[in-house]
């Protein structure tokens, strides 16, 4: 079990640009959520998918879209990047929805310049 795998680990983009972040959940985990961590502290819920269906949305900007695929991996497409999008982006997975224990990936650090 390699845990939750996120790629890339670090990325630098220019303002107005685009980026794609990938999350591969633990094998068998169909519940995937995304969080944004800014200023090294606050974790904000962005979106949740379960069994390839969006179940809940939080602070996800309209410039971002997230999709979960047949193998349950998830991709976050980010467009029209703004400086304030600079943050760590974590995804986490769990086996089922419900009071679950999430396993977090190591995160992607996005810097928008």
């Amino acid at each position: 079990d390699s845990g939750v795998v996120q790629s890339p680990r670090h990325i630098i983009k220019e303002k107005g640009g685009r980026s794609v972040l990938t999350c591969i959940p633990i094998s068998g985990h169909s519940n995937v959520v995304w969080y944004q961590q800014t200023l090294g502290k606050e974790l904000k819920f962005l979106i949740q998918h379960y069994e390839k269906v969006e179940r809940d949305k939080g602070f996800l900007p309209s410039r971002f879209s997230v999709q979960q695929f047949d193998d349950y991996h998830s991709e976050m497409n980010m467009s029209a990047l703004e400086l304030e999008d600079s943050a760590m982006y974590f995804c986490a997975s769990s086996l089922v929805t419900g009071p679950s224990d999430y396993t977090f990936g190591s995160g992607t650090r996005l810097l928008v310049i």
Partner: protein, 113 residues
């Protein structure tokens, strides 16, 4: 609305002294509370998950008791170790559905020799 409050942004302790990190919450639902620990440049990791009301849960030397009467889930440890230095998040399972966690703002624990 649902929320989690961690009143201490930074707690500095001398090694060997007891640890207590505060967490209170507000929710209209019967739910679970969690403690996550995040070491520098790492992903958040689950430390504790609440059990039933007034029941203590323990893991890796840390313990917490869910008190619904006071809406609290404080994290405690009898003797701090240098390796305990990290960011600690209290989180609420929003709506009890497990769809998303609402995180507190985090408490940075710094343990000094």
């Amino acid at each position: 609305g649902d929320s989690v409050t961690q009143t201490e942004g930074l707690v500095t302790l001398t090694e060997g002294l007891p640890v207590m990190l505060n967490c209170t919450y507000q929710t209209a639902y019967s739910t679970f509370l969690f403690w996550y620990v995040q070491h520098l440049n790492e992903a958040p990791k689950l430390l504790l998950k609440s059990s039933t009301d007034n029941k203590r849960t323990e893991h890796q030397g840390f313990h917490a008791t869910l008190h619904k009467s006071s809406s609290s889930f404080h994290l405690q440890k009898s003797s701090a170790q240098l390796s305990d230095s990290a960011l600690y998040y209290c989180a609420l399972d929003y709506g009890g559905s497990g769809n998303k966690l609402i995180f507190g703002t985090g408490t940075l624990l710094s343990v000094k020799p």
